[in-house]
Symmetry: C2
Subunit: 406 residues, 2 copies
């Protein structure tokens, strides 16, 4: 008998018909002799609507009232699933964040889970009940509802699985697993049977929107086995596990891309101490995250070009922020470009194998694709190229790394 | 400085624009130097939608999951009003049933309030804050959400006002007070400045859908002054108070009517002990409430006619229930009629004045309206007449009792 936490997202509980399908999925796991605990998101679109109300009412996204309003969607779906299970003859009850409770740090709108009290759930599981926990929510130290930030239900599920020492945490989504790259663009993309936490983290943060980054981080920290699988079939999905569990590691596991990138280049910035601190300090003060940064050694020791990327949504504000410091920075010109894409080759195998980056550069060169910016980490190589090359680059790289399905 | 509990119903908080108007109403009372505590319903239509979901999921209306689902509407409006007040510079926070808590008996779907802990609210009021309590909900003894049944927010408000020893509990509605009768039918109907609890109770249960019966009962029991007033103006409404407070009591305060009545007559029922017990016992077992009952003395001591009324919705089931006992009851025929209306003349003045009923019978006779059934209580006289006479009867009686506005 295994103990499994199942998490279903907003589209999986979008209406009552879908919730009944979720109930059938729960039953399948019970029939296989397993213990099941469920974590749910709100119906698709509901949280957005509630956020809209709360912001229009004048709330900021870090106020307890905002959280009291937007946490209601999960309360509804948890109650409804418990009712559907009961109707199928399966003992079940809903658990709200304050009822267990799920202790948080009380940072409203972006709370972190500090611990989950599981005594009541252990009792319920021992009696054969299916506990249905409302995701996304917990209790603040002052006794109010605190939410975990967008996508927080994934984190709720992983935290609960870790607290219950579950054998597996299954994240049910619209897709049937994690692919070597986006199958809508690269037809021969393959579903991965297994992927490491580190790789999943890069895939998640690079735009493969399957799992929330925070949830993967938490799973990695707690050693919680995760599975990304489809709400529409009972085929196995992709297991996210520790590196040790993967015997034959491919050099490259996947190729991710993100169109949500915009590039800013400062031409002929003064090459003197403190310039980078000034630029990136003021961007940080404005709450703008900078991703890739490239600065060349200056030829003359006087001035150099500096390029960095921000998310598309932050581009205008980033340009304004930097332009406001023109006098101090003394740059000749500022050029920005939102028509770029970041393509990343990811694989823990890179740690022990040279030549991965070289294959990437050569493949892109053969296709006549110019690389604008490069950044690397221990397990990935990312390049920024013109957005129009997205499909061409993904397909060429997918073939070059031997990822195409036979 | 007075302490006031304000309750706003579903149409008063139907959307964010309306909630902002509620916030302005709260501010007016604060500006007048008063302490204010608010109780809210869910946005109009939201609870019905949630009830629909819960029932479709297979829930009964007395299960804890049903309550967890349908209690969310008030959580949303309470949070939104607190945000709107904060935006106006007024310190405010929402309070959910489990947070105070509002203790209930745990009868899910129709819980009764056993007590409200007010220490936190007293602290808040002392600091000048406006507490906004989600109506309709409380905490069950086992630590779950329990709702109070339809219209429960009125009861929440009265219970809170009593617990806080509030000077007044203002129930904001679509109408600007309690009228001598329905002004849509009788143009010269007048708004009453004051009405007694007993009269309000009769008005409420007889179809003047301004206040929930349970809330009036609770107000009467606790001596809580109530005011029914309009969400759309700051004109005073109708005060519901103890009889002592009304110096010049009219003989008749109001005339109520209910079209939700249906009549069943059993022709030639055996006139022997146990017949009434058999009829009404089986109706009670079927969960059917019987309102008026008339049985004549039999001329021959053998058989008599018996007439009673039930709500229109229960008519078919009531007929079936009685027909199933035909053998035992040995009646000659069963006649039913849904085209009837109950008209009631209400006034505590009746206690000390004879002739009120006589005026009613005479007035109806003069208009050629036949009275089918009569029932009386200490402060009301009700008659059942054919539904087509509704308007004619109301107008004639309103004039006859001197209630027409000058």
């Amino acid at each position: 008998m295994a103990r499994i936490v199942q998490k279903f997202g907003g589209t999986s509980v979008a209406d009552l018909e879908r919730i009944k399908i979720v109930a059938a999925t729960v039953k399948r796991e019970l029939d296989a002799g397993n213990q099941v605990c469920v974590v749910l998101s709100a119906m698709a679109g509901v949280t957005d609507q509630l956020v809209g109300y709360a912001l229009e009412a004048g709330g900021s996204n870090n106020s307890p009232e905002y959280d009291a309003v937007i946490a209601t969607g999960e309360q509804v779906t948890a109650g409804l699933l418990a009712l559907c299970l009961q109707k199928m003859g399966i003992a079940s009850r809903s658990w709200l964040g304050w009822q267990l409770p799920v202790h948080t740090d009380g940072m409203y709108g972006k709370a972190r889970i500090m611990g989950i009290e599981t005594a009541a759930l252990e009792d319920a599981l021992a009696k054969g009940e299916v506990p249905v926990m409302a995701g996304f929510q917990g209790l603040s130290p002052e006794g109010r509802i605190a939410t975990l930030g967008r996508g927080g239900s994934d984190t709720s599920a992983v935290a609960l699985a870790a607290a219950l020492k579950a054998d597996r945490c299954d994240i049910y989504t619209d897709v049937d697993g994690v692919y070597t790259t986006d199958p809508r663009i690269v037809a021969p993309a393959k579903k991965l049977d297994k992927i490491t936490y580190e790789e999943m983290l890069e895939m998640a943060s690079l735009g493969a929107k399957v799992l929330q980054t925070r949830a993967v981080e938490l799973a990695m920290k707690t050693g919680q086995r995760l599975q990304v699988r489809s709400s529409y079939s009972d085929a196995p999905g992709t297991l996210v596990v520790d590196e040790d569990e993967i015997v034959e590691q491919e050099l490259v596991s996947g190729i991710a891309y993100s169109r949500d990138e915009a590039k800013i280049t400062l031409i002929q910035v003064a090459d003197k101490p403190g310039v980078a601190a000034s630029i990136f300090g003021s961007l940080a003060d404005a709450g703008i995250n900078v991703d890739m940064i490239v600065q060349n050694v200056s030829a003359d020791g006087q001035a150099t070009d500096m390029t960095f990327t921000v998310s598309t949504a932050d581009l205008d504000r980033a340009v304004e922020t930097v332009a406001a410091k023109k006098a101090e920075l003394d740059y000749a010109d500022l050029v920005s470009d939102a028509n770029v894409v970041k393509i990343s080759v990811i694989g823990v195998g890179m740690r022990s194998h040279a030549g991965i980056a070289q294959t990437m550069f050569q493949t892109l060169a053969e296709k006549g694709i110019n690389i604008q910016v490069i950044s690397t980490s221990e397990i990935k190589v990312s390049v920024l190229v013109a957005e129009e090359y997205t499909e061409l680059a993904l397909r060429a790289l997918h073939t070059a790394y031997g990822l195409d399905a036979e």
